[in-house]
């Protein structure tokens, strides 16, 4: 009679034996590796990977396909292939491709965050810019420098910028009988009685409370207000993580000059203000409200149930399709006399492992050059090319908000108040640091009764531990 012990005995030993052989086989094939796919035609295949930012939503796909077709028809050296991947899965797919030597040639549009997710994966464009004498004068030099990373070089070229501003639901202001916030930086807020108030966080908080209403029609300033039955919120920083939220109170960084973790004082104040706004004064959606259908599961302003939503220009094209009613822009409120309008900027980058850097550079310059007008409109970004900015908003307005009079100057002027350092800037051990922030943010959004100074102190400790591990 034969009785085989369970798996950890013989089965496991056998698996191990086969594994060793398998590993040897893998190494052998790796040595024989001829490299990427050789396409049947004699054109050089350049793969363009979309999903690290805008571009994987159904409505944006046809426009991108059209650009690829056009490019392929325009010349016979390069075959451009589009790879569009669901944004949730994109980092996994891209890391699998990079780690198996199957990296795409061009990745984008991609924010500064994508760069941080794959540190060291991008090609320094400097030699190609010099070799081709590529003309950079059409860009704001500060934006070009935005992509010049220490030790990695020029890892991208400016493509689109997304200034931020306040989205105002005019119908909700009318219903409450409140005048609209200012559309000029430095202008005061004039309330219903005609009093001038500085347009700052305190004034905005008051407005937001009046715009927060329960099912019985009580606003958040009323003693009868029922926080368990809110049907409309006053303010929200839409799709913003901790760093993005806090930047409303001024630019800052969680990394100090020595590379240690820090919580800037004004960010600590911001965190306290947001937390009270969610859990004590109720004018900001907390986790449960924010995840519900009532607020479009995160796309709050679009739901029509948010009075003021702070976010970037991209929101107007990505997410406003379902909005019913009228809206307009307003400037960011000041804090301690200073106004900050955080900025997102997108680029296309070439992967370091590309086998055809010259051809990839040619495609890249096409995307940020001839195709930029079409593409920026598709993705909803303001073109980084100064020559294309003229008339841009007319086109966007016509395409998305026909018949509405939206003051886009607010967006353009916001460019003078951008956050420096950027709220998306690098941190040591970036992904792990982000995970620590996300963990803090989860408690912050979901749990009532936290002591924020204590939470921030432990956040700093946790971040420091992750920063230290980077060395």
């Amino acid at each position: 009679m034969r009785i085989t012990p369970p798996l950890r005995g013989r089965g496991f030993a056998a698996a191990r034996a086969i594994a060793v052989g398998g590993a040897a086989a893998l190494l052998a094939t790796a040595c024989l590796d001829g490299g990427g796919a050789s396409s049947a035609s004699d054109r050089v295949e350049i793969r363009w990977f979309v999903g690290m930012g805008a571009g994987s939503d159904a409505p944006t796909i046809p426009a991108q396909e059209a650009i690829v077709e056009e490019f392929n028809a325009s010349q016979d050296e390069i075959e451009l292939v589009l790879e569009i991947v669901d944004a949730d899965q994109a980092p996994n797919i891209l890391s699998t491709q990079i780690s198996t030597g199957d990296a795409p040639d061009i990745v984008g549009p991609m924010g500064i965050r994508g760069r941080s997710t794959f540190p060291g994966a991008w090609l320094d464009l400097t030699p190609h810019i010099e070799e081709n004498e590529y003309d950079l004068t059409d860009f704001d030099p500060a934006l070009v420098d935005f992509y010049r990373i220490e030790e990695e070089g020029q890892i991208g070229l400016p493509f689109a910028v997304f200034p931020s501003f306040m989205y105002i639901n005019l119908d909700l202001f009318d219903e409450a009988g409140l005048p609209y916030p200012p559309q000029e930086y430095g202008a005061p807020y004039i309330d219903a009685e005609g009093n001038e108030k500085p347009w700052d966080i305190a004034t905005m908080t008051e407005l937001a409370k009046q715009l927060t209403v329960d099912a019985e029609g009580n606003d958040a300033t009323s003693p009868d207000f029922d926080a368990g039955n809110i049907v409309q919120f006053g303010f929200g920083n839409v799709f913003a993580d901790i760093r993005a939220q806090s930047t409303l109170f001024g630019a800052g960084s969680l990394v100090d000059a020595e590379g240690n973790a820090q919580i800037p004082e004004h960010w600590a104040e911001a965190q306290q203000w947001y937390y009270d706004g969610m859990w004590t004064d109720h004018f900001i959606p907390n986790g449960p409200y924010g995840d519900s259908d009532m607020l479009n599961a995160g796309s709050w302003f679009e739901s029509g149930n948010l009075g003021m939503g702070y976010t970037h220009l991209w929101y107007a094209t990505c997410c406003m399709a379902g909005f019913e009613g009228t809206w307009d822009t307003a400037v960011a409120p000041a804090y301690n006399g200073e106004t900050t309008a955080k900025l997102h900027a997108d680029t296309f980058s070439i992967t370091k492992d590309t086998e055809h850097p010259d051809e990839a550079f040619e495609v890249l310059t096409h995307l940020i050059g001839d195709a930029a007008e079409e593409l920026t409109q598709t993705y909803g970004g303001m073109p980084a090319r100064i020559s294309l900015q003229d008339g841009y908003f007319d086109r966007v307005g016509d395409a998305n908000f026909e018949g509405q009079d939206i003051n886009w100057d607010v967006a353009v002027e916001g460019m003078s108040y951008v956050d420096n350092p950027s709220h998306e800037g690098g941190m040591p051990n970036f992904l792990e640091s982000e995970a620590v922030l996300a963990e803090y943010a989860t408690r912050f959004n979901q749990e009532e009764g936290l002591d924020i100074p204590t939470e921030l102190a432990s956040l700093q400790t946790d971040l420091q531990a992750v920063f230290d591990a980077a060395e």
Binding site: R2, T4, L7, R10, G11, F12, A14, A15, I18, L26, T29, A37, R47, F49, S56, D57, A58, P59, I61, L82, E83, I84, V85, D86, A87, D88, Q89, I93, T96, Q97, S99, T100, D102, D171, D174, E175, A176, G177, V213, A215, E216, G217, I230, V231, Q232, D293, M294, L295, N296, A297, E302, S303, G304, N305, Y315, C318, C319, A321, G322, E324
Partner: protein, 357 residues
């Protein structure tokens, strides 16, 4: 037989019949109740699929896809509410200008009479609603992601892999279930090990292997491995084969049938319900398969299956719940038909092993 006994007999039969009827009624009713609870979320999904995007986010939204009656007034669509007037009468009026404590209405029946000022909070008013299912969502979902093409590729993928995996798994399972050979324990352990090892850990090396073969960008990495049996299916079929009495095979062997004929003539007919089950599982698994097709077909958007197609409705910042759900319900149609067709095999299963003896 005396009449007395006869009537007692029919009495008993009647009682049994009544008892059976009662049992049937209770069981069916219970099952109906259970199904109602079980399918409640699906009801939510269906209702959402029929709402417009605005209806999805309405905090006072009804459970059903209703929308407020509207009235076109001066170029705007106004919602109609049931407004209690000071004289006690309740009138159906359209809200022109909402205000916190007083609002302006207009009578849809008599717009020429001008607007009506009303004191009170409009939020406490009941909206006048009518059932307004948005059948257009299905149309939009259908056309946005090129539904027919997706369905075609999904069907191709699901059917070929189903055929491959069921045939190969049944053969392998029979080998494990009925033959004694040295190393069977270890080999079966190895087979089980391929289930036990988290699939994600072999993802990268597997991708590397298929890349070497030049298969990335095609359906080959998804289809070809199914020709070589799938451990889940082998295990299930082996378990099932082992319940089949050996006498049946022995009888066939005495009649001179070899292993292949025994397998085809004895085992396969006996295992029809299990084979159907395995086929169904694989079909639905492939139908909704998402990650691997996405990984291997990333560069070939024209041929992705429906699972990947659905993901284009759920961007990070912009999800369209009503469209995802409408598309999912559309995608459900074919599997439902296939399931209903497969039912007949289940029923035949009863006939084969039951009444037919």
């Amino acid at each position: 037989m005396t009449t007395d006994a006869k009537s007692r007999n029919t009495d008993a039969a009647l009682r049994r019949k009544r008892r059976n009827l009662l049992l049937t009624g209770c069981t069916t009713l219970g099952a109906l109740l259970l199904a109602a609870i079980f399918l409640m979320p699906l009801g939510y999904g269906a209702a959402t699929a029929l709402k417009d995007k605005d209806g999805v986010s309405d905090p006072n939204a009804s459970l059903l896809p209703v929308s407020a009656l509207t009235f076109a007034y001066e170029g705007e669509e106004l919602d109609v509410y049931a407004v209690p007037m000071p004289d006690g009468e309740v009138r159906e009026l359209a809200l022109v200008e909402p205000g916190r404590e007083s609002s302006v209405f207009v009578d849809p029946g008599d717009a020429a009479a001008g607007t009506i000022d009303w004191e009170g909070r409009w939020r406490t008013l009941e909206p006048v609603t009518g059932l307004a299912p948005q059948w257009g969502n299905f149309e939009e979902a259908w056309s946005t992601i090129d539904f027919l093409r997706l369905m075609g590729w999904t069907l191709m993928y699901a059917l070929t892999t189903m055929l491959f995996t069921v045939v190969s798994s049944a053969v392998v399972a029979y080998g494990f279930a009925r033959f004694r050979f040295p190393g069977r324990g270890i080999l079966f352990g190895l087979l089980m090990a391929t289930i036990l090892l988290p699939p994600a850990v072999t993802l990268v090396p597997k991708y590397a292997v298929f890349l070497q073969m030049g298969w990335v960008g095609t359906y080959l990495p998804l289809i070809v491995p199914q020709l070589f049996a799938n451990a889940f299916n082998v295990f299930l079929l082996r378990q099932y084969f082992m319940t089949i009495p050996r006498e049946l095979e022995e009888a066939a062997r005495i009649d001179g049938a070899g292993p292949i004929r025994t397998f085809l003539r004895v085992i396969i007919p006996q295992a029809l319900p299990a084979l159907t089950a395995v086929s169904l599982f694989h079909f639905f698994y492939a139908w909704n398969d998402f990650f691997e097709p996405l990984l291997y077909l990333a560069g070939n958007r024209d041929i992705v299956p429906i699972g990947v197609g659905l993901s284009y409705f759920s961007g990070v910042y912009n999800s369209e719940p009503h469209l995802i759900l409408a598309a999912s319900i559309l995608a459900l149609a074919l599997p439902v038909v296939i399931f209903l067709a497969a039912q007949r095999v289940f029923v035949r299963g009863i006939v084969v092993t039951g009444v037919d003896k």
